[in-house]
């Protein structure tokens, strides 16, 4: 985890170059129109979740209104797109995210000037209040927010950049990928600056940071403004991709989704939100197509993660570095394999039961339903019995094997004569 600048030569840039290559190859592997749409959405979510993690993960500030900064940036971006369309302003489309970022930065500067005075509950409540305020203003100030139907623009009317007019999704993908890479790189550089380091110190121990001579309010303010800037970039990318913004893009629900994506990925790690954004968007788009209960599932997964896995998915990977370094990862394979089958049975059984009840409750008139590519009769007792058995037996066996897993884990991470 050394400073990137201090590392000699090109080796520090290898991860960035590799990611750039991967990003440029991806659209040629997943060529379907649907998959490029999903990848665009993932890119936007990555920037947003990473910027949110500057607050929550690195600065210890819990915001319930982060979507506001993305939304404001996006709304201004759409307005600018319309101005560019009228030819009263010349601005190539790839530079639009920068404008959105500056708008986010400006707005965050105003709000941050008073909201970062305290961290914790007070900060969270101010962010909630501001979020509700702006969301309510959406309906009232129709000149700027366009009321309930929102405002829309046309990205193809901007002056062509090197002959590209951004008509297809693929062209937009490269624009988004470019900005994702730039933003993530800049956010990484931010964590290496003294302010970025002090943000961690203020998060972990505000008093000591203050005694060292740093103003925690100033440190929080700077992080907050930077987070607003990158959220604004995400907003402009959103505006370019969807060409429409409504109240739904900045309300509390959207802010909750940002929190969810970031938290699932893991707030304690720089790369965590990237995994979170990818997983969350895939869940949202893929599972969202399969069932209308996806919000319930994500909510439950989220609650369980907060309770049992507060370090997130990245934390789960990071945990396994210890046995890996000790060369004992092999000891875990057997118990993991053993718990996989009953665990999976429990999972499938519970999902099936939830879906079955939902079907009986709200679509009772249809006799057949399809679940996991199998069609069956909901009126007969068989599926109910099978799924209930899967849940009960799966849970019971998993619990027994879970003890074995814990034991194996303890053995795999045990270091003789370890001192604290």
């Amino acid at each position: 985890m050394n400073n990137i600048i201090q590392k000699s030569g090109l080796s520090a840039f290898v991860p960035w170059i590799v990611s750039a290559i991967v990003l440029s190859i991806l659209p040629f592997i997943f060529t379907g129109g649907g998959s490029i749409t999903i990848m665009n959405q993932i890119g936007i979510t990555i920037v947003l979740a990473m910027s949110y993690n500057m607050l929550l993960g690195q600065g210890g500030m819990l915001s319930f209104g982060h979507a506001v900064y993305m939304g404001i940036g996006g709304f201004v971006a759409v307005h600018i797109m319309n101005i560019v369309e009228n030819e009263s302003l010349w601005l190539p489309l790839p530079l639009l995210p920068l404008v959105g970022g500056l708008v986010g930065l400006g707005f965050a500067t105003i709000i941050g000037s008073f909201s970062t005075r305290k961290a914790g509950t007070v900060f969270a409540m101010i962010s909630l209040g501001i979020g509700e305020l702006i969301a309510a203003c959406c309906i009232i100030i129709t000149v700027f927010f366009g009321g309930e139907e929102g405002i829309s623009g046309d990205r193809t009317m901007a002056p062509p950049t090197f002959g590209i007019e951004f008509i297809t999704q693929k062209e937009v993908y490269f624009l988004i990928a470019f900005w994702v890479l730039i933003s993530v790189f800049c956010m990484y550089l931010f964590t290496q600056t003294p302010v970025g380091k002090m943000a961690n110190a203020v998060r972990d121990n505000p008093e000591r940071a203050e005694f060292v001579g740093y103003s925690m309010r100033w440190v929080r303010f700077v992080s907050f403004c930077a987070a607003g800037f990158f959220a604004g970039i995400a907003g402009a990318l959103f505006a370019i991709n969807y060409e429409i913004l409504t109240e739904q893009n900045l309300n509390l629900n959207m802010s909750f989704q940002v929190l969810l994506a970031t938290y699932i990925g893991g707030v304690g790690f720089f790369l965590g939100p990237i995994f979170g954004a990818i997983l969350f968007t895939l869940l949202q788009t893929v599972i969202g197509l399969q069932t209308d209960l996806w919000a319930l599932y994500t909510g439950i997964v989220f609650i369980l993660m907060v309770m049992f896995l507060p370090a997130g998915l990245t934390g789960l990977f990071a945990m396994h570095l210890i046995p890996l370094q000790l060369g004992r990862l092999g000891m875990l394979v057997r118990p993991y394999a053993k718990i996989f089958i009953p665990g999976l049975a429990f999972l499938i059984g519970s999902i099936a039961l939830i879906e079955l009840i939902n079907h009986a409750r709200h679509h009772g008139e249809e006799q057949f339903m399809t679940l996991f590519w199998i069609e069956f009769d909901t009126k007969s007792f068989l599926p109910w019995i099978v799924f209930t058995l899967m849940v009960v037996v799966g849970f019971y066996i998993s619990r027994i094997i879970a003890r074995e897993v814990t034991e194996a884990w303890g053995e795999a991470t045990f270091v003789e004569g370890e001192r604290r």
């Binding site: 008073f114 969270a124 929190l259 909510g299």
Partner: protein, 318 residues
């Protein structure tokens, strides 16, 4: 004048309803130092459970049973959820309750559907209690008022005059000392959380018929309740009471007086623009008080937090 009196009564009922939620919330906060963001979800749960019970047995059984069920549920959430998350710190606790809000909201939609349910006030209260200054006050509103006042008095009595209240108050300030004296502080915490959410459930039971029972009801009231608690000062019961009444009246009055910004602008000497639909300031000209009524509490919240971060009556550093 007639409208004024009606509004005073309506605002009082709404304010007392808010107090039923904010009292529990502020008690929970001063106990555990965590703002229970899922509080309004328990309010909604109370309304829906009471609806379900009222189908089978009628309104009055629901009035008693639904809050009890919500109390048990709240206590279980504290015991098996919040207590576990507590070890990770305050921010994960906030995140947990925030997530819980969405899960309960989704669960309610999962069980009872996405549209409103037909939860009505009991027939025995379907009459006009009295006529006042040209308007009529339904008996159900009087009933709501009586229940709210009753809860307020009971809460005050329990906290200030009984032994249980003394232990709770002591555990608020010196949990370690109270534990050393042999009291089961975790149990007190669980009880306070349960009773707090139960009060929210009771508010839902009596508010359901008059404010309609639908999946968005928690969201609608939830943020207002936080405003009450924060404006009154986190952890201050009297502050929550005054802030609840204040916001109750603020919203009721804003909703019923149709003062337009256009009239004020004309009175100030500005000219009404001819082509209002293309005017850049058209929103300002067409703005009315009922329109900005819903956002007044948030403006109040932000102002209070900026100028008095501890709230109007708060003393505790958070």
């Amino acid at each position: 004048m007639d409208l004024f009196i009606i509004n005073v009564i309506d605002g009082l009922i709404y304010g007392l309803l808010l107090f039923m939620l904010s009292s529990g919330l502020t008690l929970i906060f001063s106990m555990m130092g965590v703002l229970n963001l899922s509080h309004a979800a328990f309010y909604m749960l109370g309304a829906y459970l009471a609806y379900q019970i009222s189908i089978i047995t009628g309104f009055w059984v629901g009035l008693i049973v639904a809050p009890l069920l919500v109390t048990i549920l709240g206590a279980a959430v504290e015991r098996y959820g919040l207590r576990r998350v507590h070890q990770y710190g305050h921010v994960p606790e906030l995140i947990f309750t925030f997530g819980l809000f969405f899960v309960i909201e989704e669960l309610v939609q999962y069980i009872w559907g996405r549209s409103m349910v037909n939860y009505n006030s009991p027939e025995s209260l379907d009459f006009i209690a009295f006529n006042l200054a040209g308007g009529s006050i339904p008996a159900y509103k009087v009933f709501m008022l009586l229940v709210s006042v009753g809860i307020f008095v009971a809460l005050y009595y329990v906290l200030a005059r009984t032994r249980v209240g003394m232990i709770i108050q002591a555990a608020l300030s010196y949990p370690k000392t109270v534990e050393a004296l042999g009291h089961n502080v975790p149990l007190v915490f669980m009880g306070v959380f349960g009773v707090g959410t139960g009060l929210a459930g009771l508010a839902g039971v009596i508010a359901g018929p008059s404010l309609t029972t639908f999946p968005g009801m928690a969201f609608l009231l939830g943020s207002i309740v936080f405003v009450c608690v924060v404006v009154g000062g986190l952890g201050s019961l009297s502050g929550a009471f005054i802030a609840s009444l204040l916001i109750g009246w603020l919203q009721t009055f804003a909703a019923s007086y149709n003062v337009g910004a256009g009239d004020i602008l004309i009175a100030l000497g500005y000219e009404y623009p001819k082509d209002i639909y293309y005017h850049p300031w058209r929103d300002l000209w067409t703005l009315t008080l009922p329109q900005i009524g819903p956002i007044l509490p948030y403006i109040l919240l932000v102002l209070v937090l900026v100028f008095r971060p501890n709230g109007l009556f708060g003393k505790r550093e958070s």
